[in-house]
Amino acid sequence: MPWKAVSPIEIYKLLPRTNCKKCGEENCMAFAVRLVNMETKLEKCTPLLEESKYNQNYEKLREILNPPVKEIEIRSDKRVVKIGGEYVMHRHELTYINPTPIAIDVDDTMSKEELIRRIDIAENFKYDYIGRSLTLDLIAVRSVSNDPEKFRKTVGFVASNTSFPLVLCSLNPRIIEAGLSAIPDGRPLVYALTKDNWQRIIELAKKYGVPVTIFSPGDLDTLVSLAKTALDNGVNDIALDPGTFVGRKGLGYTLNAFTMLRWKACNDDYKLAGFPLVGTPITAWKTVEGDSQTKMWWETVTAAMLIIRYADLLIMHSIEGWSLLPLVMLRFNIYTDPRKPVSVEPGLRIIGNPGELSPVMITGNFALTYYIVSGDIEAGKIDCYLLVVDTEGIAVECAVPGRKLLPENVAELLKSSGVEEKVKHRILIIPGKAARLAGDIEDATGWKVLVGPLDSKDIPKFIGEKWTPQIIEELSRS
């Protein structure tokens, strides 16, 4: 059954209904509403957990609210990364929950300098976008030497030089155990349990209490058989990797496998597929012919495909900006909650190098509006002051009739932003779609209003024609 919205009433009936506020909400009904919107966790209701009379209800609630894709935590002593926890195949059906973390690999044949270099690049990767920082998430340590002692030392060294949680990668259980023994306080993800080592890896997963990835490239029957074996033996925190094949030999297989597994989890209630999916675009370095740029290109393309089609964690080798930048932005886009309008902070944006005679324009704070408008202004190489008015995240087109673009807000922003001190003129350019507010804005602000074009792509032309010394002079005099 595809995921269906649960009614808050159904949840409310099973809550204590004491309105004790321990969860931080005003009452149990408010908590129920937040629960069905996936905005809070059931465990915040402490009485439900602590008082035995609620045991049954707690179990029922868990069943109703648990995501079809299990959520698993990977931890270092400083950070937690959550993977999975997804409810739906398509983002419009609810929202996606945990943005696909990206792990950057290092291996045990690298020098300390090289390890530090890669860790630093991964840790310091940061791109500011819509007022948010886009970053990377994990370090994957691979055993290339096949020497347990070397691996143990490398894992220890990496762990003491990064705050990121780790993925420990080897198919040799002795190596995995050596790695686990190096970080007794962490909760790394083990990669991987296979058809050849499952007995020992299950044993280790239990002994160290760590999540494991089941890897069965090209064979879904074995993948789910291994998953069932792990579950039957008490290993519940598992992730699945059906194999990331890059290029002609299997990109299609990989797309199919990820799509089928997620379909089974979300729509067919098939428990053995209900786990986070791990993608390894890094295999491009093994299978793609050509120079490193070519390998990186296909690694990036494959990673993008997997961000869209259901990977809950990616392991990559490339640390080039051009490869990672589109991926973290794509990930941000795809994992944005479609139920909420994406807005940007209201306030003053300085574009280019404006001076005291540069234009002052206003727009709304719907993120898309803002990015298109500012993008058009930048593309036209116009130096200006752009005032982003709080329209409650609504596009200008709808904000005008919906009374979300208010002249008094414009007036307030002109003052608080300090733009009055930055320019000598008192002319405000407003969006063409807000033309009918021109008079009201003039009254509220005391500034002269110049109505801009209907579409922001025409701003450069508009400025070229209308922002001349004569016209500024004329408007300032009138």
């Binding site: 398509h90 490239p217 002609r248 990109l251 799509t259 067919d268 053995l272 080039e320 051009w322 886009n333």
Partner: protein, 402 residues
């Protein structure tokens, strides 16, 4: 040699039993080889408590067998089908194109090839403009010498970059650009039709009044070629242009700005004039970081609705992947860590295109030759990839890179 005569045979047996148990405990099994025991009766008495101790195995030994389960293939049923739209006309069909293309026809979500086939793989059209326009440098360098000559530009796309279809944009007809009259625009169309033999899509300037005039003129000179007009929208006088197109052999793209209700509304209006098989729809797309998620989701919803039976949305989907270049990250000079814009641009367009493929696009409009090549490769890998060999990647964790 065991020497325990004092306690007689019983003592020996007891001693042996304890040794055997000890060995069993330590090694799990004990094989007696070349041992002769000469007694009439040998009774090994093993204490019950000790037996329990022996057979108590460490947890791992309980896992003797790998569970054997089959992966159950997804079960799904889709009732709707996207119409097939034919583009271009060959000589036998009254045109002069050397091929025709069919898009659409899907009855499954995008690339659900585990449930069936895709009747017509998505096609990629290359953009050509009727005047020299601002292009990102990494695109411009491939067309520098033909930017003033749309016919040559189109020829470059087909002959050098293997374009299957040309997207001619008559941007100069914009009243605010050059205001090129419809008759001159029509001449450009004729030139391009002469220069290349692949099917042609003709785009206006986006001015709803001027586009109607331009489309009427160009459709007359392209009579019989089954060209695509890009695009009709709700701001246009549809009773004028759609009525004019009623008896022409042309396909239209119905454009709406990321709004499914408007997409349905426009399609329904067009049904009064045109058969469904002559309508594609463009629900609008933006590049990564510039609203991709809105376009992606509207496209995905449109296609899923169509497959669930929404008859107003059962049209091939057009994606203006070129919009990816509006992202600053695709063309701006940035700190060296982010790499040269010559690669950022193409990867931006490639991934934006890939996202539209996975959301349901059938017809991609694109610009950069390398992005186009990659997308064609991806489509072929999806459709006709070779089978996997697990050994190709099985030991990726231990590979040495570099």
């Amino acid at each position: 040699m065991v020497k325990k005569e004092d306690k007689g045979i019983n003592g020996l047996a007891e001693f042996l039993a304890s040794k055997i148990l000890e060995a069993l405990e330590r090694h799990g099994e004990l094989i007696l080889e070349d041992v002769e025991i000469e007694v009439d009766e040998l009774e090994l008495i093993v204490q019950p408590g000790m037996i329990r101790q022996v057979i108590k195995a460490p947890p791992v030994e309980k896992i003797l067998k790998l569970a054997e389960v089959r992966f159950e293939e997804p079960v799904m049923e889709w009732v709707g089908k996207v119409v097939e739209v034919k583009i271009g006309a060959t000589k036998s069909e009254g045109g002069t194109r050397d091929r025709t293309l069919v898009v659409g026809g899907e009855s499954l979500p995008p690339f659900y090839l585990f449930k069936g086939s895709m009747p017509h793989p998505p096609v990629i059209a290359m953009d050509v403009f009727d005047m020299k326009i601002k292009l990102p440098k990494s695109v411009r360098q491939h067309f520098e010498d033909v930017l003033n000559d749309p016919a040559e530009w189109a020829r470059r796309c087909v002959e050098k970059y293997g374009a299957e279809i040309i997207n001619l944009h008559l941007v100069s007809t914009d009243p605010y650009v050059k205001d090129t009259p419809p008759s001159e625009a029509a001449k450009v169309v004729e030139e391009v039709l002469q220069a290349v033999k692949v099917p042609l899509t003709i785009g206006g300037s986006g001015d709803p009044v001027k586009d109607v005039k331009v489309f009427k003129k160009v459709i007359d000179v392209a009579e019989g070629e089954r060209v695509v007009l890009n695009s009709l929208n709700l701001d246009m006088k549809l009773e004028d242009i759609a009525e004019y197109l009623r008896n022409k052999d042309a396909v239209v793209i119905a454009f709406t700005p990321m709004d499914l209700d408007k997409a349905r509304e426009l399609n329904r209006k067009l049904y009064d004039y045109l058969p469904k098989e002559r309508i594609m729809m463009d629900t609008n797309i933006a590049g990564i970081g510039y609203g991709l998620e809105y376009g992606f989701t509207v496209m995905e919803r449109a296609r899923l609705a169509a497959l669930k039976g929404d008859a107003d949305l059962q049209h091939p989907i057009v994606a203006g992947v070129t919009n990816a270049w509006a992202a600053r990250e695709a063309w701006m000079k940035m700190d060296p860590y982010w790499g040269p814009k010559e690669i950022r641009g193409p990867i931006w367009e490639t991934i934006t295109g890939l996202a539209t493929l996975l959301a349901g696009a059938d017809y991609l409009m694109m610009m950069h030759p390398f992005s186009i090549k990659t997308l064609k490769d991806i489509i072929s890998f999806f459709l006709r990839g070779e089978p996997t060999r697990s050994e190709d990647i099985y030991d990726w964790v231990s590979m040495k890179i570099g």
